[in-house]
Structures are given as C-alpha cells and as structure tokens.
Symmetry: C2
Subunit: 419 residues, 2 copies
Amino acid sequence: MLTDRFEADYLLETPIDPARAAETMAGEQSSGTFVAIPGETPELKSRAAARVVALDILERDVPGRSLPSNVPSPPHERITRARVTLSWPLANIGPSLPNLLATVAGNLFELKSASGLRILDIRLPAAFAAAYPGPRFGIAGTRRLAGVEGRPLIGTIIKPSVGLGPAATAALVDELCGAGIDFIKDDELQSDGPACPFDQRVAAVMAVIERHADRTGRKPMFAFNLTGDLDQMRRRHDTLLAHGATCLMASLNSVGLVGMIELGRFAQLPIHAHRNGWGYLSRHPMLGWSYVAWQKLWRLAGADHMHVNGLSNKFSETDDSVIASARECLTPMFADKPCTVMPVFSSGQTVRQAHGTYAALGSTDLLMTAGGGVMAHPDGVAAGVRSLREAWAAAIAGIPLAEHARTHPELGRALEIAA
Amino acid sequence: MLTDRFEADYLLETPIDPARAAETMAGEQSSGTFVAIPGETPELKSRAAARVVALDILERDVPGRSLPSNVPSPPHERITRARVTLSWPLANIGPSLPNLLATVAGNLFELKSASGLRILDIRLPAAFAAAYPGPRFGIAGTRRLAGVEGRPLIGTIIKPSVGLGPAATAALVDELCGAGIDFIKDDELQSDGPACPFDQRVAAVMAVIERHADRTGRKPMFAFNLTGDLDQMRRRHDTLLAHGATCLMASLNSVGLVGMIELGRFAQLPIHAHRNGWGYLSRHPMLGWSYVAWQKLWRLAGADHMHVNGLSNKFSETDDSVIASARECLTPMFADKPCTVMPVFSSGQTVRQAHGTYAALGSTDLLMTAGGGVMAHPDGVAAGVRSLREAWAAAIAGIPLAEHARTHPELGRALEIAA
C-alpha cells in the first residue's frame, strides 16, 4: 500500500527509446524540463522527481505513429508500445485531486516523444481517502432509498430528451411509476432551460412520485439533472430536498472536478454522475483516458452512480470495455474506504442484456436504464418493466432466457421485438 | 447575430451518408433518440429539435476510419469527411455554460456513425454575455497592473517546476526581478504541496517583489498557482490579496468549468489560465476539441490569460495551430462584450520567435514566457531578459533580427546559443 507516493500507469507509444521517453514523462511532470537547469540538483531530484518504476515493452515495430506531431516521421522509424508506471512523492502536491490531475494528466499528451499516450490507472495513498468524502450513499444507500434489494434497479430516461414541459414530464412519470419502475432520470440535455424549468419540473414530478409512494410504500427514485453554475446547483439541490426527491444528477464533464467536489460536500442526496463527453476523452485507443483511471477521481469526489454504457450498446464501445468499467466501480479503492459505486448500464438495453451482464459482472449491484426496452413493449410500459425484471430473475436463477420466457408472457412478448 | 439559438461547427468523418450522420447528431443532442418514440411529435420537434444548418463535404473516399468502433469496417466502405453546423434553440438550456457543454459536446463523440468527430467552433447569443462575467482584467487590466505598454510582457516560469521551497523560490524571484522581468509564474505542478506551502511561498515571494516595486516603481506580476478545491482556492485568493499579489493562476482541466466560473466571480485579480491536459482533448486531428471552440468557454467564465503554446515549440503542435489559437484570443466574442484575453506563448520560446510571432499575430498584446530563453543566456538572467525585449523591439520596428543584434550585444549573445 502506498503511503507517501502516488502512481499512474500509462500506455505509451514512442518513436524513440521507450526508456528515454518514460524518463522524459517523469521529468516533464516533476522537476525536469526540456533543458538541463542549474537548480535541479541531485538532492532536489531525489526529493521531488518522479520515478519510472516499471516499463514493460508491449509491442515493437508498430507500423506507424498513432498521433501526429509537428515533425514528420522519418523513413524506417521504429515505433514501440510500452506500459509505463510513474511514481511521485505526495509531498509535491499533497492529497489534492485537482493537482493530482495536473500531475498525472497534465502537459504529457502533447509530448513529441509520445506518438500515443493513454492513462490506464492511478493508485493513491490513504491521505486522499482522508481528504475527500467519497460516495455518501453508494450502493447500500441507493438501495435503501429506492427500496430495491437482491436485484438490479430497473430504470429509464425521460424521452424525448428535451421538449416536454413540466406537466408532460410528470404525466410520463405517472405512467412509469404506475408500471412499477424503480428509477427514472432526466436526460443530460434537460436541466433548467426556459422550456422546462427545474423548479416546476421537480414540483410536478415529485407530486406524482409521492402519490405513487403513498400507494405502494416504495418511492421510485428520480435523478433530477441539476447541472449548472455552483449557486444554481445549490439552489436546485435545496429545491430537491424541499420536495422529497431522492436523487440528483450532474454531468461530470460539464461541472468539472472542483464543482463535483463541492457538490459532493453539500449534497444530501445520491449523486447520479453522467459521463457525457466521455468520447472525446477516450475514443482513440492510444490517447486520453481509460475509464479505470478516470472514474476514481469522481468516486473520491462523491459520485454514487457512474455511467458505464451497456453491453451491445448503440455507441462505439466494446463489451469488454463496458464490463471492465463496471467491475472497477465495484472494486474498492482503499481498504478502509472502498468508495464503491453503482455502475449504470444504458444505451440499447433490453431483456437480452440481463444474462450477459450478470455473467460478466457477477453482481446485481447495478442500475440498468432502458429506453425502448421499457417504452416499446407491445403490451405497454408496465409489461416492459415486468419483462426486464423477469429477465433479471432468470439471469440470477441461472434459467436460460428463452426457457423463462415460456412461462413469463411479458418476457416472451419482449423477446419478439428485442431481436 | 444569433439571438434565440446557438450553433456549433464540427469536423465529421463518417462511414454512412453524411447527411444522415449529421441528422443523427442533431437528433441525439436534442429531441431524438436511437429509435422513433411516440412523444416526439412534429410540434415538439419544431420547438426543441436541433437543426443541421450547414453540411459541406470536404473529402470523399477517405482511405480508412480514423477512430475504431465495436463494428469492424466492411470491405469497400466509403468514408466521407464533412464540415457540419448544428443549431439549437436557446430555450432548451438557457444561457448556461455547463449545459451548453453537455449539448454541443456531450454523447456525440461515441456515435458509431462518426468515425471521427471534432468540435471546431461555437457561436453563442448575447444572453450568454449577460449571464457570465468574462475577463475582468483582460489585456488592458493586465498591462496596467504589470506596468507594461507597447510591447509584449516578457515572462518566465519558476524552474525546477517542483522541489524549491518558499525561500529558494523567493531567491530566484529576486534574481529575476533584478533582471527586469515583467512576469513570473508558478509551474502548474506547484500549488500548495507540503514541500512548498502556498502561504509561505506567497509571503516570501511578495516580500521580494514589493522590495523591487519600491525600487523601480513597477511591480513585476507573479501568477501564483492556487489550483485546488473551492474552499482552498478562496482562501489562497484572499492570501494573495493580503500580500498585494497581482495575478493568480489556475489549471483549467483540473478546476473544470463550474469551478472556473465560480473563481471568475470571486477573483479580484487577473486569472492566468493554464491549459495543461489540453493534449488529451486535442492531439488526434479527428477527435475532440479545436482550441477555437474550447477557449470561448473559459473566456466567458473569466480567464484573462490563455495559454496557446508557442512557435517552434517543444511539443507536437504546429505553428499554424498555435497562431490560430492566439488570434482567436484577440478576436471579440460579442459586439458589446469582446472578452478578449492575453494569449500566453510558451515552450521553447527564445529571441528567435519574436519576429515570426509578431508577423503572424500583428499585435503585441501577448505574454511570452521563456525558460532557457531567459535563464540560459551566457551573460546571465538580466542579459536574457534584455535580449528578449530587444528581439521584440526589432520585430515591432521591422528590423531584421541579425541586423539588430549587431548593435545590441545581449541579443547577439542570445543568438549564439538559441540556435
């Protein structure tokens, strides 16, 4: 266990000697610079410099550079890929997430000596666990508020994403609650625009939800998107509390790290963290961020639910990548402070993904949000919700989907359309 | 001029019909989704849907996809590149920068139908100018505080980046102020680590700077890196005010948008905005962000100085890209609220970049920070600073560098090393 240092792993592609490229990274992100300078004494280096603690060659003679530079490739350039681990003294930055970011993911990705660079993981000493709240509700707190145990939370998203006013949103929520849904979320495009003001939406939706809660004894969880400037988020949060809401949603890349840390400190509700924009951070396999590294920042800042995409999703991500992300959300970060969060599966999710998701994850601690999978059931929304629960019951019990469908008509009918 | 809509331009690469790919983008980022849904009525669409307002084909039969997907390329796939402009109703989000981000740069970059996507520019209605502060000091305010008119501010960075304590930092600042420097900044790796506590560094450095200001009547500007959690940044900001500091620095990608908006609201000093991490947002030419689009967010949030890299830099960026970024910083965003900021040139800057920078930019409203260009002058730091000023005087007067060097020995000596 690290105590006074922190580490980061990288996938590095370089047209120069990989050992030299790794040393350049370590130098650039600590006491070194492009040229030798008199102030960088051996004593200072031993105190403050980052160290290359591992370097494993993965691939030699890569056919071409992944990323361009202002210096074109010479003929017969030899390009190598390696996994590199750097280690820094905690004394350089202290347990500060924003300064961690500038150190492990600062002026590195533009280096000429890297024709590809992706941060794969970070490992932090316990001082970070002491400095940040982590998820205040996490899996257990979310289950308690939603009243769902022993199976995933089945959810959906308000669609159309934008364009419905408060009353139309509440009418849709009424239908969904009547259908037995566990969880509903605003779309990330809907926060507090004049066409659907936040306060009016919350009032209209929570009136409906409270009515269903009175009827069933269980309050469906609605994640209201409060993304905005800090004063707006504070005000919207208080509106949620005043109306008995049980979840808030924020877009991580819109709010940013310092805003999310602040939200994590004042929020008295679970934080449903949306990762929209993730593609620009990750879509090229030799650039940017691995979700394994990235999600640690937000868990420590206080996120309770983290989006991970879904199996057979409508986007470009592979199933392996989705499952790696989801597993990481359930993997403890610190011995005394696990900071585990609920992975949120979404995008094209239907009854057909339950078995594969359960087999790959080995857990029901997740939230599955389905759009068409709920709304497009031929027998209506209630049948859509029931079919998803049935699919999960079958997955958990180890019963093949088609077999379970024979005795569960809603599931059978769902399979007719989710081809 | 836009009043009730906002727009974004994209570079799109797609293996499908580009018109259909553009419509998918518009749908996904407004009222549409992957499947047709009953709630998306023609009336709702006309009110809330994004529109494709321009589509120009740039390149047909691109040899291969720039970015991978979970569906491999079929043989003989026809890939096209196009410039696409989308337009949204302001009523969807209101004048909110965080929600703008989720809309123009949200779940777009992961679309299967895009094998490349880069946001090139955004255009905002005046409501955004009214909702956000913009730079409070900008070019004129920075010049007034630094006491520099008619030429660029010549600056440098504390190096080694980390490892110097408060006293050693102050000793270096003393030497630099004695040499006549205009501007000094902390490195982005140095904020408030235990090895160089912020408050002690500010106290030690400002004592030195005030002594030089008393001597010369001009206070060199020091940008103290206060990057941290919000409460820490507030406290550090107050420390700066108490010690008579004239600039603060923050790392944009560490603080994030909501944190920067909040900093912009309370800061009573110019904000020197560092873009470390920019590489992961921009390094692949068919993914992520153009600086032209990205810098508008931060200018509106309140940044006064924006890093743009430098000509002949040590990183991978081309000179054309650097100049396009710098020009944009000097281009007004709104008729009544230009939000222009000082571009900061850095990385490998020496006397050799003055002429090219001035020729390309046509302005002296910039800050040039040189490391080796100041510190490595054979006759010392004062000669280094003087040589840079002489290079700029020659550039402004239209005198070739070599000619000016014959009558200005510090410049001549600088040319001997900056080969």
